[in-house]
């Protein structure tokens, strides 16, 4: 099993997303994450899909994606170095005494405070999945009230 990050450029039309999601589900794969939004060209959407599976299976998925009429281009980032990021919002239990600790911990990771209340603090953080994972394990002891991860967005590194 390996994890792939795939970028899919699709026509920005209704139905396109469920067509793509359906392609994965009909073959029994679970999508680890999926993000989608318009590109600089509003008629095109760009999706970043993270999926785990064995190599030959994923190769099939890429071919099948290409076969969909709405799909303009598929990039499978197996071979190329990528830049990828996720964003999280995490609301932690925080009292007067722990608030500062949390904020300084977050700032080590480059996170910022998104909101604050007498009993909680909400941190916003962008980073690689690895960074995000590390941060979560660091703050877990404070008590996670709520957490949301965006899923990955990715693009290839510029060629040198």
């Amino acid at each position: 099993m390996s994890t792939h990050t795939i970028s899919v450029f699709v026509e920005n039309r209704h139905g396109a997303l469920s067509r793509i999601a359906g392609l994965f589900s009909s073959r029994g794969y679970n999508i680890t994450s999926l993000t989608v939004a318009e590109t600089e060209d509003p008629s095109t959407s760009r999706m970043t899909i993270v999926v785990a599976g064995d190599e030959s299976v994923l190769e099939q998925v890429v071919k099948q994606l290409n076969r969909l009429i709405d799909v303009i281009k598929v990039i499978d980032f197996v071979k190329d170095p990528v830049i990828d990021r996720e964003i999280i919002l995490v609301r932690l239990d925080a009292t007067k005494s722990t608030r500062h600790e949390i904020v300084s911990l977050a700032s080590i990771f480059g996170g910022t405070v998104a909101a604050i209340s007498p009993t909680s603090i909400t941190i916003e953080l962008t980073g690689t999945s690895q960074t995000i994972g590390d941060f979560i394990s660091m703050v877990k002891p404070y008590g996670i009230k709520e957490l949301v991860r965006s899923g990955k967005v990715a693009m290839a590194q510029a060629r040198k």
Partner: protein, 575 residues
Amino acid sequence: MKKTGAQIVVDALIREKIDVVFGYPGGVVLPLFDALYDAEKVKVILTRHEQAAAHAADGYARATGKVGVCIATSGPGATNLVTGIATAYLDSVPVVAITGQVATPILGTDAFQEADVVGITRPITKHNFLVKDVAELPGMIKQAFHIASTGRPGPVLIDVPKDVSVGMVDNYEYPSKVDMRSYRPNTVGHIRQIRKAADAMADAKKPLIYAGGGIIISGAHRELLELAEKTNIPVTTTLMGLGGFPGNHKLFVGMPGMHGSKAANFALQQTDLIVSVGARFDDRVTGHVASFAPNAKIIHMDIDPAAISKIISVDIPVVGDAKNVLAQLNKEVRPRRANGWNKTVAGWKGKKLFDYQPSKTEIKPQAVVEAVYRATKGKAIITTEVGQNQMWASHYYVFTKPRTLLTSGGLGTMGYGMPAAMGAALAIKDRPVIDIAGDGSIQMNIQELATISLNRIPVKVVILNNSYLGMVRQWQEMFFNRRYSSSCLRDGVLCDECKGPGKCKHVYIPDFIALAKAYDIEAFRATKPSEVDAVLKKGLAVKGPALMEFMVSKEENVFPMVPAGKPIDQIVEGQ
């Protein structure tokens, strides 16, 4: 020009040169049927069930190579199309299905006769559209026909809400061409790959051509024949490819797979090079995949990149349309002389590809198919149902021309044959169109006898009545210890004790002859071998539709057979 959505659909049909559509009306498609009422150039055939409309469009498409069109109302009408659409999808048949839908403002409210048909058919169409604005309609219809008929063909569904079909476009124009950035199928083979293929063919000691339905779809039968004759390579074609290569040619070794010929299966297992064109290594062909063609290098030519290395890993992939790719390949290949391998293959083939035990007392279903072949001099278009009838039709009718066998290969849809024959017979007038049917399958769309009768569509139905869901019974005989659970078509409350198929005294229901007569269709029955030819003669001489029923031996099995999941040279020859 000012036109309503419904008028636009009709105009588009005319411009796409569609002369017949198959449909069934209902609430939200009434505007469309109303527009069709005035369309002299488009004949509407009212089927008796939407499933049959889809199969008829499919049969029309397979017989002609043109796009077949079917129309149904929203909700139940559209869901009734589903089996027909899936059938066309699995066999890559160009069909455009037009469905009515509830008006856009009430979409998603569980409105009367609302079903999310675009959602339901997403995995069984090549593409589908929900038209949300009448202004989009001309472009979408144009795209639908384009997508259905190009690349690897397939069904496309257009869902037209009521407000769209009554909506008005002020300056309607049907687009003259399509350009879709996301859909540009590659039809010409890469020359480097073609040369690699030619080299591999020159190096091979035991090559085998394995051709599929792609040959027929792309019209590559002449190129295939040229390739085979130039190189003297034996040819096997899949069920879908039958007729793509002359079935009476000395290089032909029959179809491969579960009910394939010994020659084809042995050749596949021993070949050192499979030259595959327009075939997809279906599991009914490969049997146990890991032991399939263990010594073979594989060239795979296919229009669909996703078909390549899907099941079997391929050494030389070539993406392109079969006709183009084979023409390219024919320029590159070197002539090859028949060698010891050809002799070995011919030895496996023997005198006949398929054989059975004849009988003087019982009508053998295989003998009926042979008699149909003789009576039609091999000139008929044969459609089939699914089950033993389908396999016997493929074994004992010799197909020499493309588009002469119309059969549900991928989905295996019982009930396909008669409506498909309707579609074919409306398009092809110079050949008899015959549905070789099982007594079970024929009942799945038996209501179409009305359509056939009223429109005097010259479909000939040949029922091989074995009183059983024969193929199911065969599996139960072979793998379930003869426990004929729910496979006897005579079974009912009167059966307190079953004395076995030979001794059953119950009448068969329905009486197909009486039933045909109820539909005002001429019908004939043969119960003895001596009656077979006479019944066929009478039936085939009828100008319009006719039904012929043959009371065949009840426990006949289809052989050879490779049990599911076994290597394809582990053949059970039987009897």
